[in-house]
């Protein structure tokens, strides 16, 4: 099965911030926080196409998001902060600091249409 593993990094985006202010239920906000930035070579390795739905899984949960190619480093996947990314990290995993692994959660990504 095609797929790729790496680190999930949550980030702010301009659109995420602007749309959040219009309401966290609005479709543009939900689209933006469900858009994963990934290196084109990682997409090719995982047999994923830009705009394709992909499943992102961690030890704590899984979400389905849309992937787009971006000039980010390989094996680093970037998802805007918000309720979607928050299904992949855990409050029980903070190394005693109170800060979850929002900047480095181990995840696996695979095309959603391969998911059984």
């Amino acid at each position: 099965m095609a797929g790729i593993s790496g680190l999930l990094v949550t980030v702010r985006t301009g659109k995420q911030g602007a749309e959040m202010m219009r309401g966290k239920m609005n479709p543009e906000y939900l689209d933006e926080i469900s858009t994963l930035r990934i290196n084109p070579d990682d997409m090719a390795e995982a047999q994923m196409l830009p705009g394709q739905k992909v499943k992102v899984s961690s030890s704590f949960g899984e979400v389905t998001v849309t992937c787009i190619a971006s000039d980010v480093p390989r094996k680093l996947f970037f998802l805007p902060v918000g309720p979607v990314a928050n299904r992949l990290v855990s409050g029980s995993d903070t190394d005693g600091t109170g800060v979850p692994a929002w900047k480095g959660e181990q995840v696996t990504i695979e095309p959603a249409d391969q998911v059984q």
Binding site: V9, G17, A18, R22, V81, G91, T94, T97, V99, K103
Partner: protein, 433 residues
């Protein structure tokens, strides 16, 4: 019939820690109709401030304010381990009430900085932090380093108002007379507008700061110039160290890329020591890129009143401080809390799902101006007048300069401060405090 138009100038946008105080807002018949000078986020915040307001509810059913406050008091006074949480997007006046309520209830109180810039506050308690105001940066800085932050998307006007293109007393040419360096793990709009982008591998902030300490001090490092630290050759880091030593006034703005990655508080500790040691050679400071509008004020108020900026527990009748143990995320993940009073934050959207999910299983009292993921399940929802729009008060900018936010429209709802005062008075009466 003519409509009444009021133009408010020098309005403060309360979205992020920049607290831009030059916004112009037009109000027609008590409705905000136009916003000028704000970034897109600030514009949307103000334009949508009066829409999408929740009803006063208990368990999803509309009720009166009086009944909602009574239910809130009933929940809080019957809880064995209540949590008071939020503070970051309301006035310091309301924050003060929250601290007092937490003390009366023998509760735990925390704010969102405990999972954002909290590690930086912990570092400051260990080694201090040489810092400055944004006005000083604007007037004096000739070297600005953005480290693990992307203000062009999170603090949009920071560069034009304070740090990059702002024209200051000793920098009348603005951008031309400043060097801008970005340290990040990926290209961003901020790195693309910098003079020098140093792309590093993730999780190596502590190593970079340690190396820079040695290079700035001209100490031997036991590695050749071709050796890689965080994926970047030592020769490049040496170049940065020389740039730092050669500047007249430098500042590092650090973001969650520093505080939330591997190392967390010790990253900021090492960065703070680096900045302190740079002052052996030239003037140099660091500042956290604070996110929520008054999260810095939350730390200020908690520190005035409890001695600690976050993660404080009153269960023994006096304040105890222990990040990790009394941090909101740890408490909720361990399911220790049995009721919560939440003000001016949105745990349904901001917290890890397993953490936020615990709140759905306990009674939650929620003060909030807008419908959001938390209003969907909070037990008692009390809509409030939004600070900086329909309520005035004090906010602290990211450089800890206090500013007075204005009331520019009337609201049908009370402010956070007013609701919290009523809750406090009835708790005091119920407990014969």
């Amino acid at each position: 019939m003519d409509q009444e138009l009021k133009v408010h100038s020098d309005v403060i946008c309360t979205f992020c820690g920049c607290l831009c105080d030059d916004i112009e807002v037009e109000v027609v018949d008590n409705r905000i109709s136009k916003v000028k000078k704000a970034c897109m986020i600030g514009r949307n915040k103000l334009m949508h401030a009066q829409s999408n307001n929740p009803d006063i509810t208990i368990a999803g059913k509309p009720t009166s304010l009086d009944a909602a406050i009574n239910e809130a008091v009933n929940i809080l006074t019957n809880a064995r381990f209540p949590l008071v949480y939020g503070l970051s997007s309301t006035t310091t006046e309301a924050q003060r009430e929250m601290v007092e309520i937490a003390e009366i209830l023998n509760a735990t109180i925390d704010n969102p900085s405990s999972y954002c810039h909290g590690p930086g506050l912990m570092a400051r308690q260990q080694v201090g932090l040489s810092s400055c105001t944004l006005g000083e940066v604007k007037n004096r800085a000739d070297l600005v380093i953005f480290w693990g932050c992307n203000p062009l998307e999170s603090h949009v006007r920071h560069l034009t108002r304070y740090s990059v293109s702002a024209k200051g007393m000793f920098h009348p040419e603005g951008r031309k007379s400043r060097k801008i360096v970005s340290i990040d793990i990926r290209p961003t709009p901020t790195t693309k507008s910098s003079d020098w982008f140093i792309q590093v591998t993730p999780g190596n902030t502590f190593e970079i700061a340690t190396l820079l300490r040695a290079l700035v001090a001209n100490n031997p490092i036991g590695k050749g110039d071709d050796a890689l630290i965080a994926g970047v050759a030592v020769s490049k880091w040496r170049e940065l160290a020389e740039m730092i030593r050669g500047c007249k006034y430098g500042v590092i703005f650090f973001g969650l890329g520093v505080t939330q990655c591997r190392g967390r508080d010790i990253n900021v500790e090492q960065l703070a020591v680096l900045v302190s040691e740079i002052n052996n050679h030239t003037r140099f400071y660091a500042m956290a890129m604070r996110g929520h509008g008054n999260v810095a004020g939350g730390n200020q108020v908690m520190t005035w009143q409890t001695g600690f900026p976050l993660a404080v527990n009153f269960s023994r009748g006096y304040p105890r401080y222990n990040p990790g143990e009394f941090s909101v995320i740890g408490l909720l993940a361990r399911k220790e809390v049995d009721a919560a009073l939440i003000v001016a934050t949105d745990p349904g959207a901001h917290l890890p799902a397993d953490t936020g999910d615990h709140l759905k299983n306990i009674p939650v009292i929620y003060l909030e101006p807008h419908n959001n993921p938390t209003t969907e399940w909070a037990t008692v929802v009390i809509p409030v007048a939004q600070a900086g729009v329909a309520a005035s008060g004090t906010y602290y900018r990211m450089d800890n300069v206090p500013l007075r936010v204005k009331k520019i429209v009337d609201s049908d709802h009370l402010s956070d401060e007013e609701v919290l005062k009523r809750i406090k008075e009835r708790i005091t009466h119920a407990q014969n405090y």
